[in-house]
Symmetry: C2
Subunit: 351 residues, 2 copies
DNA sequence: ACAACTCATGTAAAGGTTTACAGCGTCGAT
DNA sequence: ATCGACGCTGTAAACCTTTACATGAGTTGT
C-alpha cells in the first residue's frame, strides 16, 4: 500500500486559476480551444501547484493508455536491441511509451503479455520475429477483436497481421551468390531453429542460389541449428567431421557464424583461408570479430521505426489495412570470406 | 480515436452472477473474503462474458499502476540485457511489468522518464549505471517525494538511493593483481567515460593494485576512454605508440578490451603472447571472442533480481530504508592473459 | 433591433474500479 | 429469549479526467 501522496488535481488548478475544471482540461489537451489569457493563468496555476496529470484517470476516461507492448523472444539477443531503439525513438515521437515483454520463446508468456491489450493497459503491440502469441488458442482471440498489431520480420501464418521486414530469401540467395562468385563450389548452410519461419526462408534462398550457380549438393550440406553461438559451433563440427567438408558456410545468423568460426579455429583451420563463413543480420559484434564477419545487413533501426509508424496508424484507425513494408538489405563483405584455397582439396581424405 | 470495444465490466459480471459489484471486485482482489459458492458463480460468469479487468480503472482507484520504469543508458549495450532479464523475471513474479526507458545518456530524456513517477504511470524506478535523472534540477525533486527508486551498480551522489552492485574497486584490484601475478610489471589501464562513477572506482582499484604490487607507474599508463570498442581501440593505439608500451592492459570494460585487442592485432601483436588484456563485466561475447577474454564477472541476473526485490519492498513501504546490497564478483581467467614474454624486457629502455 | 451564428466557458455525466461503512443472518453464550 | 460477535454481502462514495451539451456574450447581416 503506497502512502497516498497528496498531489494537486485539475480541480485544484481550476480553483486557483478561477476557471472551471473543464477549461483546465481543455487548456492542456485541446490546443486552440482556450483563450490565450486563460491558458496563461492556468499554466501559471499548474506550475505553482506543481501539478501533473493523472495518467490513469486520463486513460480510464479516454480508453487509451499511450503504451504499446513489444514482444521479444530474448532481450539478450543483440539483433533486437537496435530494432528496439528504432521502435522506441519513433514511439517517443508519437508520445507513446513502450512496454517490453521478453517471452524467452515461451508462448505461454507471450499470451500473458498479449493480454495487456485486453486489459486496456496497452493500445497496440509489436511482434518481433519468432514470438507468436497466437500459436495456440489466442489466434482465434486476436483476430476478431482487431487489435492493432504489427509484426517485424515475420509473417504470422493465418493471422493477417501487417509486417515490416526484408526479403530473406533474396538476401540469402545473394549471400550464397557472393560465396559462389569467390569460386566456392562446396557451400554448406547452417540453419536457424526449425520452428522459425525465417529459418526456412533463408534456407530456401540458399537452395535457390546453389541451384542457380550449379554448386555441389550433398545430403549433409544443410545442417539444422538454432540462433546461437553454441548451435553454430556444433553444426560446424558435424560439417568438418564429414568425409568431404565444405570450403564455405552460409550461416543463418551472425551468432551461428561466430560459433562456426570458433569451431573451425579450434581445429586449426584459418578463416577465411581454409574456410569462408557468411553470417546474417550484421549485429554490432560482426564488425569487431576476428575475422570481421561478411554478412547481410538488415536496416534494423529503420525496421523498428517503420513498424512503429504503422502501428501508430493502426491505433488511430484499427480497421484500415496496412500494406507490408519490405526494406532493402545489404551485402556486407568483410574478412571472413575469400576465394577457396586451390590446394584445399587435399584435406578431403580420412574416413 | 480507437473504436470503442464493447467489453464486459464488473457490473455485467455482477448482474450475471446475481451479486453486487463489490462482491465481484472482492472475489478477484481479496482472496478469502467471498464465500466459495459465490466465488465459483462469479468466476463462471466472468468466463462466460469473457471479462477482463480494466487496469486503468483499477490504477485510478488504487493509486498504483503495477508498472516500474527501468532507466538504461543504452539498450544496445550487452551488459544490460541480462540485468534486464533478472529485473523482468522478478518483476513478473511480483505481478509487475517493466517499462524500459533508453536515455541514450541524455539526462533530459531521463528526466522525461522519471516524470512517469509523477504522473502515477509507474510505481517505482530502477536506475542502471550511468543514468542519473537527477543530475540537474531533478535531484531536488526526487528526494522530497520519496519515490521508490533503487540504483544498480552506481551510488548516486547526494541522493540517498538504495543500490545493489559489486565492489568495483576491489574487483579491479583483483584483476590487476592477476596480471601482476603472471609477472607483468608494466600494466596500463584504459578507463571508462570520465563522468561515470564506475570509471573512477575501477581506476582507484587499479591504482591500489599497482601500488600494492610495486608495479611500474608512468604518466601515460592511465588512458581516458569510454565504454566502447572504438574508444578502447583508440586508447590502445596511444599506449602502443608510446616509447615504452605496457605488457598488459586492464580495460574498464569488455568492450574496451575488445577494442584494445583489435588494435593490437592490427599492429601484428599477438594476444596474449605480446600483450595481455583484461576486461571487466564478462558480457556474453567475452567468452566467444578470440582470444577468449579474461575478465571480471558480475552476477548480472542476480543484481537485477535483487534490485527488483528491493524496489518491491520500497513500493510496499516507501519510508523504510533499504540497505545496500554488495554481491560477489568473480575473476574469470581465459585466454587473453598470459605471462609476459621474457624478451619483452628489451623494450623497456629509452627515455 | 433582432435573428442567426460563432466562440469561449461552464455543468454534469460518464468511465470501471476499490473500499469504508452499514446491514443482516447465524451462532454461541448467558 | 437476548446479546455480542462474526462473516458475508450490499450501498455508495471516491479516484481524476474527458467530453457532450448547455449557456451566455459578442458579432454579423438584414
Amino acid at each position: 500500500m503506497p502512502t497516498r501522496r497528496s498531489t494537486a488535481t485539475m480541480k485544484d488548478v481550476a480553483l486557483r486559476a478561477r476557471v472551471s475544471l473543464a477549461t483546465v482540461s481543455r487548456a492542456f489537451a485541446v490546443p486552440g480551444s482556450v483563450s490565450e489569457a486563460l491558458t496563461q493563468r492556468i499554466i501559471a496555476a499548474a506550475r505553482e501547484l506543481n501539478y501533473t496529470i493523472n495518467v490513469n484517470a486520463r486513460s480510464l476516461r479516454s480508453q487509451s493508455s499511450g503504451l504499446i507492448v513489444v514482444l521479444i523472444p530474448d532481450i539478450g539477443n543483440p539483433f533486437f536491441s537496435v530494432l528496439l531503439q528504432g521502435i522506441e525513438e519513433q514511439a517517443r515521437a508519437q508520445g507513446l511509451a513502450i512496454l517490453i515483454g521478453d517471452t524467452h520463446g515461451d508462448s505461454e508468456l507471450a499470451a500473458t503479455y498479449a493480454r495487456l491489450l485486453d486489459t486496456r493497459r496497452a493500445d497496440g503491440m509489436i511482434l518481433l520475429n519468432g514470438t507468436v502469441p497466437n500459436r495456440a488458442h489466442d489466434g482465434a482471440r486476436l483476430k476478431p477483436q482487431r487489435y492493432p498489431v504489427v509484426a517485424i520480420s515475420e509473417r504470422i501464418p493465418g493471422a493477417d497481421i501487417a509486417m515490416v521486414g526484408i526479403n530473406n530469401r533474396a538476401a540469402s540467395c545473394e549471400a550464397v551468390g557472393h560465396l559462389a562468385a569467390l569460386g566456392h563450389r562446396r557451400i554448406a548452410h547452417i540453419m536457424g531453429p526449425a520452428d522459425n519461419i525465417l529459418t526456412h526462408e533463408r534456407a530456401q534462398g540458399y537452395r535457390d542460389s546453389i541451384l542457380a550457380h550449379g554448386c555441389d549438393m550433398w545430403p549433409e550440406a544443410v545442417q539444422p541449428g538454432a540462433f546461437s553461438i553454441h548451435a553454430g559451433r556444433a553444426a560446424m563440427a558435424k560439417l568438418l567431421d564429414s568425409a568431404a567438408p565444405p570450403t564455405a558456410v552460409f550461416a543463418a545468423s551472425d551468432e551461428i557464424a561466430i560459433g562456426a568460426i570458433i569451431e573451425a579455429k579450434a581445429r586449426g583451420l584459418l578463416v577465411p583461408d581454409d574456410l569462408s563463413v557468411m553470417g546474417f543480420d550484421d549485429i554490432a559484434y560482426a564488425e569487431s570479430y576476428d575475422p570481421a564477419l561478411s554478412t547481410i545487413n538488415q536496416p534494423r533501426r529503420e525496421m523498428g521505426r517503420r513498424a512503429m509508424v504503422m502501428l501508430g496508424a493502426l491505433i488511430a484507425d484499427p480497421d484500415q489495412r496496412q500494406a507490408d513494408v519490405i526494406l532493402d538489405h545489404r551485402l556486407v563483405v568483410r574478412a571472413s570470406t575469400a576465394p577457396p584455397r586451390v590446394a584445399s582439396r587435399k584435406l578431403t581424405s580420412r574416413t
